[in-house]
């Protein structure tokens, strides 16, 4: 049985996300961000020295939160679908494309010092100049490239 609506509206999710960022700062004095959480969790999973254990707990919490939503929507189900992109590109080709896109995101976010959550929400909320510049850049590049893909694929994507 689906308990949650199909998509919780932005005016509920957005302010609650903002309050989550505030809570982590106000209580623990820690910045919410996913890239370093990935890094530290990978180090923990490969039994290497973890510099900041709280980031591993942040990552575990994120996974648990997403799992909870999945359970409220009828439970996780194994799937090979990938939205519109999955209908246009065969799975065999999609795997290296998505791995490459992930690689670019991981490399870029680590270089830039944050991603959509670390720069786009947390850093912007803190009015950090570095995060404002990074967010404007990745937004501009992502929108431009998406439009380019849309044109190149004749409007299919």
């Amino acid at each position: 049985m689906d308990i949650l609506p199909d998509r919780v509206p932005w005016y509920i999710v957005g302010p609650l996300m903002g309050l989550t960022v505030v809570a982590l700062f106000a209580i623990a004095n820690r910045p919410l961000g996913a890239t370093t959480a990935y890094r530290e969790s990978f180090r923990a999973a490969t039994l290497r020295r973890v510099n900041e254990a709280w980031r591993v707990w942040l990552f575990v919490g994120m996974a648990a939160g997403a799992l909870l939503v999945s359970l409220l929507r009828g439970g996780p189900s194994l799937t090979l679908s990938y939205g519109l992109l999955g209908t246009l590109v065969p799975v065999g080709l999609l795997i290296p494309i998505l791995f490459g896109a992930g690689l670019a995101m991981g490399f870029g976010a680590r270089w830039s010092g944050g991603c959509t959550s670390g720069h786009g929400i947390r850093g912007m909320s803190a009015l950090s100049p570095a995060s404002i510049a990074a967010t404007m850049t990745f937004m501009a590049v992502a929108v431009s490239l998406t439009f380019l893909l849309h044109i190149v694929t004749g409007g299919s994507l």
């Binding site: 998509r7 919780v8 932005w10 957005g14 609650l16 996300m17 903002g18 989550t20 505030v22 809570a23 982590l24 700062f25 106000a26 623990a28 004095n29 820690r30 990935y38 890094r39 709280w54 990552f59 919490g61 994120m62 996974a63 648990a64 939160g65 997403a66 799992l67 909870l68 939503v69 999945s70 799937t79 990938y82 939205g83 519109l84 999955g86 998505l98 791995f99 490459g100 896109a101 992930g102 690689l103 670019a104 995101m105 991981g106 870029g108 976010a109 830039s112 010092g113 991603c115 912007m124 909320s125 803190a126 009015l127 100049p129 570095a130 850049t137 990745f138 501009a140 490239l145 893909l149």
Partner: protein, 155 residues
């Protein structure tokens, strides 16, 4: 500390999945400027958090780990260069780190490949950074070894 970060992660992961940010089509439509929802979500998150954080900083808010530190950073070239590469990956995958995790947790096999790429990219960047620091470290070590002799000669 760990409990607080777990709970913050729990809330954040829940909200990302509840808003369907782990759906390729939602991010793709956002980046094609077809619907404003994700932009409005980000703007409202910032709109709520920014004044509260600014107030807390002004009041020297005490946390369980000292006075609040918002970690404002000046702009450097790496912020922009890295963000451009990140943006390219984001446009192709229609997903970013937390949504990719939420995808995978929900059973998406392809989401797991995005996550594998993310981790590989992070490891690769760390390796590049460690390598680019090597000449500097070598120079530092060399100069600190030479220093006593130089000081002696001057003395």
């Amino acid at each position: 500390m760990n409990r607080v970060s777990f709970l913050a992660g729990l809330a954040f992961g829940f909200l990302v999945a509840a808003a369907r940010l782990n759906d390729y089509n939602v991010i793709h439509d956002m980046l094609l400027l077809r619907e404003p929802d994700v932009f409005l979500m980000m703007a409202s998150a910032i709109g709520v958090a920014a004044p509260i954080l600014a107030y807390m900083q002004k009041k020297h808010w005490r946390t369980m780990d000292g006075e609040i530190n918002l970690r404002r950073q000046p702009i450097s070239r790496k912020n922009v260069t890295g963000a451009a590469i990140f943006g390219a990956g984001w446009a192709v995958a229609g997903s970013c780190p937390v949504p990719a995790l939420a995808m995978t947790v929900g059973g998406s096999v392809l989401g797991a490949f995005v996550m594998a790429g993310l981790v590989s990219g992070i490891v690769l960047r760390d390796a590049v950074e460690a390598r680019s620091l090597q000449p500097l470290l070598r120079r530092f070590r060399a100069s600190s070894e030479v220093e006593p002799e130089a000081a002696g000669a001057q003395g």
